[in-house]
């Protein structure tokens, strides 16, 4: 029972705590009517698109002097996209039509919004007369809306006619480079009674131009117009040409009473228009600008389209001592005279040693991650801009910043833990070698070296030579007469040398001895026999019949007879044997030819 009581009390306590902790008190459920949820989400006035559109038409001003300008303006309270403006619409042919424009504004009518579209034509009447644009119909979302007729009276005599209201456009430059932003002022001078009206839905009519409305500045103050200070509503914005060549620029906007769409500065004393605003589409005179393409020559690395005059502070790095893979922030601050809103900072360069990530714009900082510890400075980040005044590219590369990158911390030993909680070193690095130890001439193995492959031809050549030698030797063994003749030729050459020496020395005895030996050597292979065992008759036998009985035979006999004198007991008178030299050589040639 006691337990049940405690449980109930705990439950009640928890419920009370939950109720107290709830941020909102319990409320009764709201009953939302059909469509009411939309009202809750969009508490602003509704846009009226269901009311039948009404069209008005007028000449502003309706009376002009001959040659004076006026505007033909048609207003239809419908959206611009809903209106099918007749393609064959034309003004009376006597009127000279200038520029035309169209624009749309959302006008606030007590408790609802109502679109208003204006069509405007600049008209010049060359001669006096009355001109009427008859009524016509315009298709608005399938229903035909009647546009009433409008008349223009051109006075025959000069009368005081107020000029039509128009916008004035002032530009900081008219001769510019492609992509070079320039400031454009759209001025709505004060109306009658110096009353200032706001301008809304300002647009520039002209292809190849981009308007940056985020840089819109508005003020009311005195403006120099034709040398006279006049109060005016001024709207300034940046325009960037995106196409080269001559461009035509014209501003348009709706006068909107006191409806200022942005913070505004008021300088001097002005009076603001009161009451319900009257939305009137106004135009400026067209202006011409010349857009030059950027020069191709001299473009520097890192050009991202920045045009103007810029400079940068020294880069700042979050830390200059870090490990591989650790990201660091590199901040670069740029200042300048150009359009910093549209300033595109340097792109992240590619680097083998760094991973570089550019932070999202408008930040001009970078995240750098070192991939190696072999770098000692951050990479230079190329950047350049184009200076329109000098017409040149200017280098503004972000310089390197010295850093120290440390490698990873790797272990020098590995430990194991046992079940008892003891840790033991399982593996560790070896001690360094105190000597270079084993060396190779190159890490490239011999298998891949061309000279080694060529070297393998040496033993091949050796074995081929050996084989050839053996073949020759076997052949000579089978043909001993070849060996004998070779040897005889060799011995004959030696005897001839001795013969020459004997002639040179004038030694007749030696001459005949060597001549006889040479003849014996030359005929020895024919027997075959040892040359020492042969006599003159053996030599004669090897001569052919005519030679044997002719002078060669006589010479052989004479030589051998002179050689045999050494065996004689008494000295024999010897003729001039050295004179036989040429004959001996002839006989030896004859014998050698038969070898």
């Amino acid at each position: 029972m006691e337990k049940l009581k405690h449980s109930v009390l705990r439950l009640l306590g928890a419920t009370a705590l939950l109720w107290l902790a709830s941020p909102f008190p319990v409320q009764a459920q709201l009953r939302i009517q059909p469509g009411g949820l939309v009202q809750l989400q969009m508490p602003q006035p509704t846009v009226d698109v269901s009311s039948p559109p009404v069209a008005t038409a007028e000449f502003d001003p309706p009376v002009v002097n001959p040659g004076g300008k006026t505007y033909y303006r048609v207003n239809i309270d419908a959206t611009e996209s809903a209106i099918q403006w007749p393609e064959d619409f034309s003004l009376p042919p006597e009127l000279k039509v200038g520029t035309s424009a169209r624009g749309m504004i959302t006008q606030l009518q007590t408790d609802k919004f109502r679109p208003l579209t204006s069509f405007i034509y600049e008209v010049q009447a060359p001669a006096a007369g009355n001109f009427t644009v008859s009524n016509f119909t315009v298709n608005v979302l399938g229903s035909l809306v009647q546009v009433p007729a409008a008349s223009l009276a051109v006075a025959s005599t000069a009368t005081a006619v107020p000029p039509p209201r128009k916008l004035i456009m002032q530009m900081t430059a008219t001769n510019i480079y492609l992509g070079q932003p320039f400031r454009v002022r759209v001025i709505l001078p004060a109306g009658p009674g110096n009353q200032i009206e706001a301008l809304r839905e300002i647009q520039f009519d002209g292809g190849g131009l981009m308007t940056d409305k985020t840089a819109l500045q508005q003020f009311i103050g005195p403006v120099n117009l034709d040398g006279e200070l006049k109060p005016a509503f001024v709207s300034e914005m940046m325009v960037t040409p995106i196409a080269a060549g001559p461009q035509k620029l014209m501003a348009q906007g709706f006068s909107a009473g006191r409806e200022f769409t942005a913070p505004i500065t008021i300088r001097g004393q002005v009076s603001l228009a009161g009451g319900q605003p009257k939305y009137v589409l106004l135009l400026s005179d067209p202006a011409k600008i010349n857009v030059r393409p950027l020069p191709v020559e001299g473009e520097l690395p890192g050009f991202t389209g920045a045009i103007g005059r810029f400079f940068s502070d020294p880069p700042k790095i979050s830390t200059n001592r870090f490990h591989i893979g650790e990201p660091v922030q590199l901040k670069v601050v740029f200042h300048g005279e150009g359009d910093l809103n549209r300033f595109v900072g340097p792109a992240a360069p590619r680097s083998h040693n760094w991973q570089i990530v550019a932070d999202p714009p408008p930040s001009t900082s970078f995240t750098l991650i070192p991939l190696t510890d072999e770098v000692h400075e951050t990479p230079a980040i190329p950047f350049s801009y184009f200076d329109p005044e000098s017409g040149k590219y200017v280098d503004l590369t972000v310089p390197p910043v010295p850093v120290t990158v440390m490698g990873e911390d790797l272990p020098v030993q590995l430990t194991d833990s046992s079940e008892e909680g003891k840790t033991t070193v399982s593996l560790k690095l070896s001690a360094p070698a105190m000597r270079p130890d084993h060396a190779m001439a190159s890490l490239m193995p011999l298998q891949l070296k061309a000279w080694f492959v060529v070297l393998q031809l040496v033993p091949v050549a050796g074995f081929i030579a050996l084989w050839e030698w053996d073949r020759r030797r076997r052949y000579l063994e089978a043909h001993p007469e070849i060996v004998r003749r070779i040897r005889a030729r060799r011995a004959l050459r030696q005897e001839k040398v001795q013969l020459q020496k004997a002639v040179a020395a004038g030694d007749a005895t030696a001459f005949v001895r060597h001549a006889a030996n040479a003849m014996n050597i030359a005929v020895a292979p024919h027997y075959p026999a040892d040359p020492q065992a042969l006599v003159g008759g053996d030599v004669l036998a090897q001569l052919d019949e005519p030679s044997r009985n002719g002078p060669p035979g006589e010479l052989v006999k004479q030589v051998f007879a002179a050689a045999d004198v050494r065996f004689a007991e008494l000295a024999q008178p010897q003729p001039d044997l050295l004179a036989l030299r040429s004959k001996v050589e002839t006989v030896l040639q004859m014998l050698e030819a038969r070898l």
């Binding site: 130890d437 060396a439 190779m440 298998q447």
Partner: protein, 257 residues
């Protein structure tokens, strides 16, 4: 008795002489020799002992270029490891083992590094594994000597008109066997020259050899791969996982060209 014993004694002497010549040829001509300590090696040791590992690595690298030796590569690997370059350290130790396969210090360091970095050793084919038993140049000399020894034993007795001894055919057969075996090992050596290791952490393998190529794989420092071909500053590598192009700066071969 003497007439019978003397020729057999001389035959034994000749056999021993041939064996010694073979050993000298294999070990001496293999290109492996004791290197003298160079100035760069000494500087590297000094830097290493002073804890200036980047400078030590630079000195050892210079010494290794002029005089590649197992000790230099061992120390280079230690310096690279101490400065946090796991991949470069593993390559250096592999190069130490390339020069001297019997260097147990390099083998131990490789085992340690792979355990610490959690990478697998390269998967070697059987002929590549065999080629690690001896220095690369020893295999080529072994092949050359064994081939010509076999040819010589078969041809020379006939040419020189000597009687063939009983052991000669056996030695010739053995030489032919060694030659055939060393052919496989030589092929393994050549094949291993294409083996390399990633030296940069998270190195990317790309589909095309361009900086903008699609990344197909990221390899960690110390992982092995085979280079199949080269284009510009890229290697086309093959890993067990996939194939692709890797920048040459991120990869180092055991046997650089």
């Amino acid at each position: 008795m003497n007439r019978i014993c003397l020729p057999s004694f001389f035959r034994r002497v000749n056999c021993c002489r041939a064996g010694v010549v073979l050993l000298v040829l294999v070990l001496g001509l293999s290109g492996v020799s004791r290197a003298a300590m160079s100035d760069d090696f000494a500087k590297g040791l000094e830097f290493s002992q002073a804890g200036q590992f980047p400078e030590a690595a630079a000195a050892f690298e210079k010494a290794a270029k002029t005089n590649p030796s197992a000790g230099t590569f061992l120390n280079l690997g230690l310096a690279e490891w101490q400065r946090g370059h796991a991949g470069a350290a593993m390559v250096a130790w592999e190069q130490a083992r390339w020069i001297n396969p019997f260097d147990s210090r390099a083998e131990n360091n490789l085992k340690f590094a792979r355990e610490a970095a959690q990478v697998d050793p390269p998967q070697l084919k059987w002929h590549e594994a065999v080629s690690t038993w001896l220095p690369p140049n020893a295999w080529v000399w072994l092949a050359g000597v064994s081939l010509w020894l076999a040819v010589g034993l078969l041809i020379l007795p006939g040419i020189l008109r000597r009687r063939k001894a009983g052991w000669q055919p056996w030695l010739a057969a053995l030489s032919v066997g060694v030659f055939l075996f060393s052919l496989a090992a030589n092929y393994g050596v050549v094949s291993r020259t294409h083996l390399g290791f990633v030296i940069k952490k998270n190195a990317t393998v790309r589909l095309t050899p361009t900086q903008d190529g699609e990344v197909v794989l990221t390899l960690t420092s110390g992982e092995s791969a085979r280079v199949l071909r080269t284009r510009g500053k890229y290697f086309y590598i093959h890993t067990p996982g996939t194939s692709g192009w890797m920048e040459q700066d991120d990869f180092r071969l055991i046997c650089p060209p």
